[in-house]
Amino acid sequence: MSSKTATLTGLAAFDRTTSIWGPVTLGLGFLVSLAAALFTAFGTGLGITGHEVWTAFAIVFATFGIIAVVEPIAYYPILGRSAMYQAFMIGNIANKLLPAALIAQTDLGEKPGTRRAELIAGAAIIGAATVHIVTLIVFVGFLGTWLLGLLPEGLIAVARLYILSAVFGAVTIQAIVSMKNARTTIIAAVVAAIVVYGVIRIAPALTNYATAISVIAVIIVAWFARKRTATDATEAPASIGH
């Protein structure tokens, strides 16, 4: 009897703590980020107007907003409630946090979904976050910044000018391979080509919204062209935002 009461108290206490401090810390992260964004735009004396920032944000939101809604729903069953607040602040969920949690759970013979697994995942994420923070501070904060100072100007200028192409080439291949969906890939390639080489040539005013237009058009076409079989919906979507 008494041990059962203790059980409830133990996990109930954990639930209470994380349901208060999880949102509070994620909320703090939110506020710090918001302050950084607003300060950079409006506090540095660059004369940026609210309209300019709003336009830029609207384009980003039109392109990625839907993914930001889908990802929390997709990750919830794997992460569990308490770890959601860790994962969406620390980031790198698919490539780092999930593998760390799964390895720790496997070690202790636990499968995702139980309360025991939730605690193991939380502990593993703390370990992963610690290693990640130390790595970032040492290799990027100190070493990277120092390295940057040593490189010749010309090299840095080239890196800055072509970094987008260098990122998008690899990321696109990564997305195509991890999605394993030839049909949607072909639809996306055709629609993107029409938008980039056709639509915005004819209507340059739409340039800013080219990516958002592609995203919406591909979602609509892919939806009507989807395979209507029972095996439709098994894989969790891969992460891009985190």
Binding site: P23, E71, A128
Partner: protein, 244 residues
């Protein structure tokens, strides 16, 4: 000194991108994550026995998670270093390193620059364009935090409407959105110059080789490091192509 160097039209972005306030915000994000980890670890250790876990098993899981994260963390650091010239240390540490990801943040900043009729990194990449790009990627990243904050309690209550969302929507929509976004962004790069096309193709090819190598040579680390390797090889190609 930096305060006086603020000039919206200057292509030396460092007075803004290395602004002390941004360093403070970066430190604050790290502090919040440490605070969260401390609170969570205490709560987990207290509840452990109720979930049939010993304290050694909890601390063993912390260690296991840490060891598992070494490879991915170094891979992320490599990508982050390649983005230092573009966004500078404070933004890279908080955005690419932590909350966000290279793919999303670079895309967001690129889209924001476009809205100013500018190009990231080029002669039109001014302090003002950096500031708007940083604001856009950060505000965009906030949407993820906000949806997590709003949806987690709803999902925890086992909300029926969310749980019964047609599973097809959950696979078709994100797949279509991600592929459409990055293929469009990649094709947009091809309209800039021949060197951009070359850089894009080299990056794609190297990534393809890394993924193939991971699969056929059974070297999974190649997949993890693929993005970082591809970025550096592609930039080297761009450097060689422009050096002549």
């Amino acid at each position: 000194m930096h305060r006086f160097a603020v000039d919206p039209g200057s292509t030396d972005i460092s007075p803004v991108s290395f602004h002390p306030v941004l360093w403070i915000c970066a430190a604050a994000v790290f502090a919040v994550i440490v605070l969260q980890s401390v609170i969570y670890l205490r709560a987990i250790r207290k509840a452990a026995s109720s979930a049939n876990l010993t304290d050694e098993q909890v601390m063993g899981s912390v260690r296991r998670g840490g060891i598992a994260a070494i490879g991915p963390s170094l891979a992320v650091a490599l990508v982050a270093i390649s983005l230092l010239p573009l966004f500078s240390t404070p933004a890279v540490l908080t955005r690419i390193g932590l909350v966000g990801s290279a793919a999303f943040d670079v895309a967001a900043a690129g889209l924001a620059a476009q809205s100013q009729g500018a190009m990231l990194g080029g002669p039109t990449y001014t302090q003002k364009v950096f500031a708007i790009g940083f604001a856009a990627m950060t505000l965009g990243g906030l949407v993820w935090m906000l949806t997590a904050l709003i949806l987690t309690p709803i999902l925890a209550k086992g909300d029926k409407t969310l749980r019964t969302v047609n599973p097809a929507i959950m696979t078709v929509v994100p797949t279509a959105a991600i592929l459409a976004a990055f293929i469009t962004l990649a094709l947009t790069e091809t309209t800039k110059s021949g060197v951009h096309v070359l850089t894009l193709l080299v990056s794609a090819a190297v990534m393809g080789l890394c993924i193939a190598g991971a699969k056929f040579l059974k070297k999974p680390w190649l997949r993890e490091w693929g993005l970082g390797i591809a970025i550096f090889v592609a930039l080297a190609a761009a450097f060689l192509a422009t050096a002549k």
